[in-house]
């Protein structure tokens, strides 16, 4: 389906953002998201794997490869072109939305540093 106006949630957004630098497996995405968000966004596993399924179904990511490291299975995910495009346009959307508010707050001289 991939409607143009998806408006992705924060967990989903950071999952996509985590994959910008290259393929990662599930737990690595959790760590990368923590880093990217400066320790703000701690993805719960239930959220992560549910979202990964959805994103793969919608063609925004795909499975890169699966390997077994020290007996533990790892599934690596990559951004598709569509996913890369989406996370980029989401970033622009957020920037626009943010600037609307920051401009107004400055203008009305509110208690913000």
């Amino acid at each position: 389906m991939a409607k143009g106006s998806s408006t992705v949630s924060e967990p989903t957004y950071f999952i996509l953002a985590s994959l910008l630098d290259g393929p990662l497996h599930g737990h690595a995405i959790i760590k990368q998201t923590l880093e990217l968000s400066e320790n703000r966004v701690r993805l719960p596993v239930g959220t992560l794997y549910g979202a990964l399924d959805r994103l793969a179904t919608n063609g925004l990511i795909s499975v890169d490869r699966e390997e077994v490291v020290e007996g533990r299975p790892r599934r690596y995910f990559v951004l598709t072109d569509q996913g890369r495009t989406l996370v980029g346009s989401e970033a622009l959307r957020m920037q626009q939305a943010a600037s609307v508010v920051t401009a107004r707050i400055l203008r009305t001289g509110s208690a913000f540093s």
Copy 2:
């Protein structure tokens, strides 16, 4: 309970943003949101009034006054201090999240203008 890490959705965010310039009634919020978002966000009425209830319950907005204009009732809502603070910090959060992605996209030289 006004958790610090609420992470407000796009409709909710724009409702709060619409009220930064002063009290508005429901339908005026829809129009203001359209304007602020450059015609991107068209709030459905079901979403709007549901969200207004929730926001009022959570103390982020409150009813300013009710009047009847040309036979039609209007209920005006105002931002509370808490609401104003929240929308400001949400804007900062979005800005940070956006910049993480835009920086990476520039660095990896993706197909973005």
